[in-house]
Amino acid sequence: MPTLIQLKNGQFSETEDRFTLVGPDDLTPASGGVILSLARFEGEGALLDEGRPVGVLLQPDEAVEALAYDLPRIAVVALAFPKFRDGRAYSSAALLRSRLGFTGEIRAVGDVLREQAREMVRCGFDTFIPSDGSSSQEWAAAAHRYRHVYQTAADHRAPAFVERSPSDGL
């Protein structure tokens, strides 16, 4: 079982994965949580009506806007990193949080390295399946390495320009 790291209330911990990632040729399991590709999700949307936790796996070229109307009922959006260098999923996560108002789980899957922990957390990811064997402690250390940030992002950390503002902290 690959490790699933979860960020909850500011803490990182290893946690049990409640979802089965359904591969393109797999049968959809009869019970339990599932994560489907976008194409499968569009074909098997009825699963949502069964009250099962359903997630969608988006490839980098699949626009998050495609999910807009189903988001309130989607438990997890998994965003794929085919290569760590492929940065499209950061925009996808940022849009899910800041524009589409998604409050469910955003999961990083694929080529997921601890060196990206900070960017992922800042863009709104809250679960991670590291491909480099990172523990939750290592993940937390990488995510928290910097005391400040310069921009506003989905993690709601106060950027430098807010830290500096005289009214801050009142």
């Binding site: 260098r85 950061y90 925009s91 060196e115 310069y150 992002a153 503002s165």
Partner: protein
Amino acid sequence: MSLYAYDQIDREMLADRAAEFRGQVARRLSGDLTEDQFKPLRLMNGLYLQLHAYMLRVAIPYGTLDGRQMRALAAIARDYDKGYGHFTTRTNIQFHWVRLKDTPDILDRLAAVDLHAIQTSGNCIRNTTTDPYAGATAEEVDDPRVWSEAIRQWSTFHPEFTYLPRKFKIAVTGSAKDRTAARAHDIGLKIKRSREGELGFEVMVGGGMGRTPYLGPTIREFLPARSLLSYLTAVLRVYNRLGRRDNIYKARIKILVASTGAEEFGRQVEAEWAALDQGSIDLPDLELARIRAAFGVIPFETLPARSEAFEAARAADLALARFARNNLAPHKKPGYTIVNIALKAPGETPGDATSAQMEAVAALAERYGHDDIRVTHAQNLVLPHVKLDDVPAVFAELQRHGLATANLDLISDIIACPGLDYCALANARAIPIAQDIARRFEQPDRAEAIGELKIKISGCINACGHHHVGHIGILGVDKKGEEFYQLSLGGSGAEDASIASILGPALPADQVAPAVEALVDAYLGLKTGEERFLDTYRRLGPAPFKEAVYADAHPA
């Protein structure tokens, strides 16, 4: 204004970065990380593995340094390199001979003077460049350094834009006379005022060099200044989502803009921008005012426009007179001038400076130049605020250190990338070609008679030497394992931007300088009035120049 003063937050950012990199190098040296795993990490810190050694590229944000920082660079060159550094067309400095185990110490030393190597490589937003005359020229609408610093902070470790399809370069010019080649950048910003007097930017997107050069089209004629960062966010987000990732040669934003069409691309950006929570991204007025104030104020003296001491000295010294003609530019304050220091002495590598030279420039800046030094995209240095009264003393000191070459924008003021002498991607050497040409036109009277002529040399199609926008561009190509050079004419990176056209078949190395000489002779015979080489070429087209270079090589 002088130099942006880092506060505690800015400093802690650099300290955290240096500590992180120290940990990564330790893991690499202990074998915890393989070179494959380490590579992306070191690249995030500007550390490249080149032909012979590691190269560390240090950022000089918008090309601005003070004496203390220049001395630190000089010390690093002396202690960890071979006693010199190389200033690049991105206004950064490279050390070509560092050892991996020393790099954490180098980063600490840099951080101690508010310098770093953040985002000097990788597919992220690179160091923003601006006008080296910023704050000193009367031409500017507003000081572009304020906006460049705002961009520096916004783009530093931007979580969404750290893994773009390709590297991303922004230039800001505050003057109509463009010394930044704004249209040759992924984003070019030109500061302007609206008819109502509001401050803002013309936004040009999708320029670039490389194998398919483009001049960036304007996608917005006027963007209110306070919306800069949200608008940039919109451009970057559209690019991050839609830019090609399947082919490294088609991954720059210029390809996206060209294939989408500038108008449609602009529409997508506007739509994204309208949907953004702009208020959470754009800097509040107070922060913009804080940044502006953090640059400080230069206490200029009230001086007569004419300096008798300077006039007398230049009447008595032909070399000083020549230097004054070529290397000084008008300053906004009477009695002051902008001094250009060309790192282009004949026979030297363009952009190289020794530790002693860097220290000499630092001392001059501290003593005569309000502690302000600029690095230019043409790989030269500038002291932007020098009293005319002090020019003779500054010139004498520059002479003592081999820094008084009076060739700014002349034929021997050549831009050249590191080429095959250092760069693993190169097809051909660039530096020896530049040296050859500079030696051939060493005679200063002749160079002055030829006038403004910008030669730019790249060692391969990646075009780091910007050959596409050279009045004469020279590109190294590989022909069956031999170094050949393709000439192109008629490019310009200035406000009259254009892309150069290839003149004819590539030439072997030893025929490049003679060909340049043939081009120059043709120009001198054809020019009318005050025409520059570029003007004559634009008037007459390639035919007479082609004839001059190839007539002998291919007798009819």
